[in-house]
Amino acid sequence: MKDISDATDLMATAREALLQEILPALPREQRYAGLMVANVLAIAAREIQAGRDAADGESSRLFELLEGASASARGLPPLRRALAQAIRTGRFDDGERRAACAAHLARTAADWVAISNPKALRKEAS
């Protein structure tokens, strides 16, 4: 337990204040904006908690999937670009490679949906 609040706790506390104290006092036409702010605070808090792990997991799976991507392709954006290109040119169309790629993409999408909108996760995947 921490002695002072970290960013995640600050956001959760700010969100509670917004939903319980500020939102009821907002005029009707500002309610949607208030709900969007509450949503943003929840996403940002989840990304602080889980974003690093999601990105690290994605990177290491990509590195494996692309079998010795060049050292210059380290880091998530170039690895994603390499996979995107390989998919487009049909390198993952068939067989075990296809299954491995599908598994990687499913895992990656689920990790990011868990951050952006966990309610959209299907039960069997959560």
């Binding site: 943003v40 487009r88 599908a102 993409l105 990656t108 990011w112 949906v113």
Partner: protein
């Protein structure tokens, strides 16, 4: 009221005339009326790309004399590249309305930008509720869900009965020989303009490319026919709205868009737009068109629908991130891409069913 009274009114309000008043004065000339008085002018909800205003008027003299409930539709300050001009949309609506499609009747088009600063048109205002999250939840508004889905399917088939060539629609982009493949190429070209890569979207595009079905005959397609974009009054469809993306293409694109999970407003188990099971929707479509989408057609064009929504969401995100249009709503729309990727992957993984 005499024409000199119109003159006076014009002069009095000239200094600071509102959009509604300017449109009313223009309408008076179009209607050959003595005057058109604005009884109510209020912005209607929805429409990030178009501005819609409720315009209630009282017309003095001429063939239109009496009271009317109109909608004035004009460009919002920030547009989306893919959408039609108001003049094109007016023409599409006119053709559709004449073909018996349940849609608002377009009445007057103003192409002269000197009147209000932008093109606009006036159409009849129809009764009903459009809000998707309300329609899928409120059983009182939709007492017979299957019946509404049937009407929606039948109405979509009436749109798809409109085939090229249509002289009034000559300035719409011509149809691609293979709509699915042309669409895939355009989404790839867009993704190539971005800094980030989206492997899951590429996965969906590759799947669609390898399984592209033989095209159906080209028809008019609405390209935004979904829950949230039609009006329902006393449980029945009163009008299909928002025709700004209409064009020529494979009619199954509209079927996929209507049934895609991303447009079910949380009522995911009801495949027909969160309203009902898919069967009554397909029944209504088949009753009018004689054609029925297969399970594979639905899966294929639902993947396409999620790809299209992902491309639009990325465009919205770009407006916020790079386009100098800072907006919470645009930023959050960009985050929807994760859910869309997740759904694309799910649909593809279900292929064997």
């Amino acid at each position: 009221m005499t024409s000199s009274a119109v003159q006076m009114t014009t002069q009095e309000e000239n200094a600071d005339a509102s959009l509604g008043d300017k449109a009313a004065r223009w309408l008076a000339r179009e209607m050959r009326a003595n005057s058109v008085s604005v009884r109510e002018f209020a912005r209607l909800p929805g429409g990030a790309i178009q501005d819609n205003w409720a315009l209630d008027v009282a017309v003095d003299g001429g063939a239109w004399r009496g009271e009317h409930r109109f909608v004035l539709r004009t460009d919002a300050p920030s547009g989306v590249a893919a959408s039609l001009t108001r003049a094109q949309e007016f023409a599409v609506l006119a053709v559709a309305h004449r073909a018996g499609v349940t849609a608002p009747e377009p009445l007057f088009l103003c192409r002269d930008q000197r009147i209000t600063g932008r093109e606009f048109f006036v159409m009849r205002r129809l009764p009903g509720v459009a809000a998707g999250h309300v329609l899928v939840r409120d059983a009182a508004l939709v007492p017979d869900r299957d019946a509404l889905a049937e009407e929606l399917g039948a109405n979509l088939a009436r749109i798809h009965a409109i085939r090229p060539p249509q002289p009034e629609l000559a300035d719409l982009a011509p149809a691609a020989a293979d709509h699915a493949r042309a669409t895939i190429a355009s989404y790839r070209a867009y993704l190539d303009t971005l800094d980030d890569a989206f492997p899951a979207l590429e996965w969906g595009l590759r799947w669609c490319e390898l399984r592209a079905p033989a095209p159906w005959d080209v028809t008019l397609i609405h390209r935004d026919y979904r829950t949230g974009n039609y009006l329902v009054d006393t449980g029945h469809l009163t009008g299909a709205l928002d025709w700004e993306f209409a064009g020529w293409g494979d009619p199954r694109e509209d079927i996929g868009w209507f049934t895609a999970r991303c447009w079910r407003f949380g009522a995911s188990e009801r495949e027909a737009g969160g309203i009902a099971r898919v069967d009554p929707f397909l029944d209504g479509y088949a009753r009018v068109s004689g054609r029925r989408a297969t399970r594979f057609d639905l899966d294929y064009w639902q993947v396409m629908a999620h790809l299209r929504w992902a491309v639009i969401a990325l465009q919205q995100a770009q407006r916020h991130v790079a386009g100098g249009e800072r907006s919470l709503e645009l930023a959050l729309t960009g985050r929807i891409v994760h859910e869309l990727e997740y759904e694309i992957l799910h649909l593809i993984s279900q292929e064997a069913r």
